[in-house]
């Protein structure tokens, strides 16, 4: 018996929620999926394999990163277990020229955009506040830890695309758009709502990709909203679509259409992906204190990877491929662990570096003072 939250936001029986693959792995698009079916024609057999491979690899990576945290090698870990389909499908709907503004749980989106996941671990290991140069890593911007702050940055960035003429020229190979990830908890933040206001006002080329994973740490989505979150879009004057977020094909197809529309100058839109945070919020969290085990079981039975594997098996995928993916995932995790343990640094000078772009006397004085102070201990030893 699923909890009330699972019923209210459940995946079963909602005809308005776009779904391509049933929870049992059968391709049976519902009525809401019809307009998005042509976008599936873009996918090759190789794409299907990549979707599966990426979902499996990131889940294994996710487990390894949580283990690293338990062993004291990371300050914190933010699991993505359960949200793989929403993230993989939407990420593959972006084009190289697009810009991606993540929240802080979109590890596989970063991977797909070309980010080395060890760069994510550098931040969570406490050696950097950022970790990578977005323009050199698929335009995947930095994680933002204050909820929904990035929604405004993404909207401003999309306004910039309009102002510098990089979008809506009619050339889908070069026209740019933005996708911003946030969640059901962040949807209550003022910034998320202001971003929707600005996006609608300026008709920015962007997609708001809201992963409703049902929980904001310990608070259920019912406390964030009395209405399905995708319906909020219409109040801001933009299209909103709800998808089965555990269906990677639904995530791909709906995001592909929304991003196409954004690049073509048709303005912003919102996608609510219904999914579930199977793990804890972070490694500092204990969901057994507030979640119904039946609810967890309900969602685990709708696991996005199991579903897509069944789908692929129905299409006759060979077992050797599935086994090879498992092996690749294990190797990836082991390699990540090894490289995570090799992360070193930074120098203490990082305290003072890049606080300002231009010289600042106070920072310069304090940097010089710290150097002198710490050098004084060395002199004492001599």
């Amino acid at each position: 018996m699923p909890s009330s939250a699972a019923v209210a936001y459940g995946l079963d029986g909602a005809e308005t929620c776009v779904r391509m693959i049933s929870p049992h792995g059968v391709f049976e698009p519902n009525a809401a999926a019809e307009e998005f079916l042509p976008y599936l024609d873009r996918l090759t057999e190789a794409d299907h394999r990549r979707f599966y491979r990426d979902m499996v690899v990131v889940r294994r990576f996710d487990t390894e990163a949580a283990n690293l945290q338990r062993q004291g090698q990371l300050a914190l870990w933010v699991p993505s277990h359960g949200q793989e389909a929403a993230q993989v499908g939407s990420a593959y709907a972006t084009r190289p020229q697009d810009h991606v503004f993540p929240s802080y749980r979109e590890h596989v989106v970063g991977m797909i955009r070309g980010l080395d996941v060890v760069d994510i671990l550098r931040m969570l290991r406490g050696v950097t506040l950022g970790g990578w140069v977005p323009e050199a890593h698929g335009n995947f911007h930095l994680y933002t830890l204050v909820l929904a702050s990035q929604t405004l940055h993404s909207t401003g960035y999309a306004m910039g695309m309009q102002l510098d003429g990089s979008t809506a020229t009619g050339n889908p190979e070069t026209d740019q758009a933005v996708i911003v990830y946030y969640g059901d908890g962040a949807s209550s933040q003022g910034d998320a709502n202001e971003a929707l206001v600005f996006a609608a006002s300026y008709q920015t080329p962007q997609v708001f990709f809201l992963q409703n994973n049902q929980w904001a740490i310990s608070v259920p989505v019912a406390r964030q909203s009395r209405t399905p979150l995708y319906l909020r879009a219409s109040g801001f004057g933009m299209p909103g679509t709800q998808i089965d977020g555990n269906d990677v094909l639904a995530s791909f197809a709906v995001t592909a259409k929304s991003m196409d529309d954004a690049r073509a100058g048709h303005g912003p839109s919102l996608i609510e992906a219904l999914t579930y945070r199977v793990g804890a919020h972070t490694t500092a969290d204990d969901p057994t204190k507030y979640r119904d085990p039946d609810e967890l079981a309900y969602w685990v039975a709708r696991d996005p990877i199991v579903r897509f594997r069944s789908y692929l098996q129905g299409r006759g995928i060979e077992q050797e491929f599935l086994d090879a993916v498992d092996e690749e995932a294990a190797d990836f995790a082991a390699d990540t662990r090894r490289r995570a343990l090799e992360i070193t640094g930074p120098e203490q000078s990082v305290i003072f570096d890049n606080v300002y772009a231009e010289p600042h006397p106070l920072v310069a004085e304090q940097k010089a003072w710290l150097d002198r102070y710490e050098a004084s201990f060395d002199e004492g030893e001599n």
Binding site: T128, L152, G156, Y157, G190, V355, A357
Partner: protein, 334 residues
């Protein structure tokens, strides 16, 4: 307006609003990436008319009348700066900056640091501030200390039209975020703006009246109060040296310490509440660096540690020339 930046005109007597307008216009002519954003800054020209005429000249792609949401203005300005633009945001009144405070302090101020130097954040946030205008709540405040306390921000405040013209251009050229406090009680008095004469560096403080007995320091609208106090003191045979701080973060201590070397007495002044304030910081630093030259404790003359009061009693709240002179008398009597 066009007169103000006509190259054949070398100087003009302008109110600060028009000097700021000329500075903004000059910056927009010099760099097509400079954008203006804010509430009512388009056809209306802003509630103080600082941006008057600019949308007509530069169009609505350079002058953006925004939705009424300060966090939205700052947050989208950050995104625009990431994209390579140089946004200048207008906050309508001092007390309305706080809905944008998180985006300023947690995002704007740290964005370059978080990116390990991989980007610059050339965003200017203009904030009309201070009292003396007899207005309602949230319209007369001096919140500069909050921003000076935040690493990654630069904070400046001109006291006169000439500085306003030049400091606005310097702030826009800066690759760091600059919080630009405009003393609204000084918006209307005219002063000479010398268009051909490059201004003092953005972060330099400056002696605006030489004296020998007591050093008095202030910024923004306080500078005119200090100059009035110096006139009154002179009539009593007391010589005040007046320093216009101009920059609140960083603070240029050179002229302040040089002056205290000479006078041995320092009074720091501000409209803001004195507790944990810019004046407190200056007092502490001068005590640390110039203890043996001081003949008396450094005194602060500030707004009281209360909310800005109803305008009917603001003259009792705001530091006046007489309140400055009361402190001057105390440091001289020490």
């Amino acid at each position: 307006m066009t007169v103000a930046t006509d190259t054949s005109v070398t100087s003009a007597a302008l109110p600060m609003t028009k000097a700021l307008n000329a500075g903004l216009r000059r910056a927009m002519l010099d760099d097509p990436l400079v954008l203006l954003m804010g509430e009512d800054i388009g056809p209306l020209g802003g509630v103080f008319r600082v941006t008057e005429g600019l949308i007509a000249e530069f169009g609505d792609k350079r002058v953006l009348d925004t939705p009424l949401a300060e966090s939205g203005i700052i947050g989208t300005a950050i995104g625009l700066a990431m994209r390579g633009f140089r946004p200048v945001c207008e906050i309508q009144f001092d007390g309305f900056v706080f809905p944008g405070f998180d985006q300023i302090t947690s995002q704007l101020a740290r964005m370059r640091n978080r990116h390990e130097g991989g980007l610059v954040m050339p965003v200017v946030i203009r904030i009309p501030y201070g009292g003396h205008i007899g207005s309602i709540e949230h319209h007369q405040e001096s919140p500069e200390a909050y921003f000076a306390h935040t690493p990654g921000l630069r904070v400046v405040s001109p006291s006169n039209p000439h500085d306003a013209y030049w400091m606005m251009q310097e702030a826009i050229k800066s690759d760091d975020p600059v919080i630009f406090f405009e003393p609204k009680s000084r918006y209307w008095p005219k002063g000479e703006v010398r268009f051909g004469e490059s201004g003092t560096p953005l972060h330099a403080s400056r002696v605006v009246r030489a004296g020998t007995d007591v050093t008095v320091v202030g910024h923004g609208a306080m500078v005119s109060v200090l100059l009035q106090a110096a006139d009154l003191a002179a009539s009593e045979g007391i010589s005040l040296e007046v320093i216009d701080l101009r920059s609140i973060s960083p603070i240029d201590y050179g002229p302040i310490l040089g002056s205290v070397q000479k006078t041995g007495r320092l009074v720091v002044t501000q409209e803001a509440p004195g507790f944990v304030s810019v004046g407190s910081e200056i007092a502490a630093t001068v005590a640390e660096r110039s203890f043996y030259t001081l003949e008396a404790p450094v005194l602060r003359v500030s707004g009281f540690d209360t909310p800005f009061p109803p305008a009917a009693v603001e003259t009792h709240f705001l530091p006046s020339p007489d309140r400055v002179l009361e402190a001057v008398d105390r440091v001289l009597a020490y």
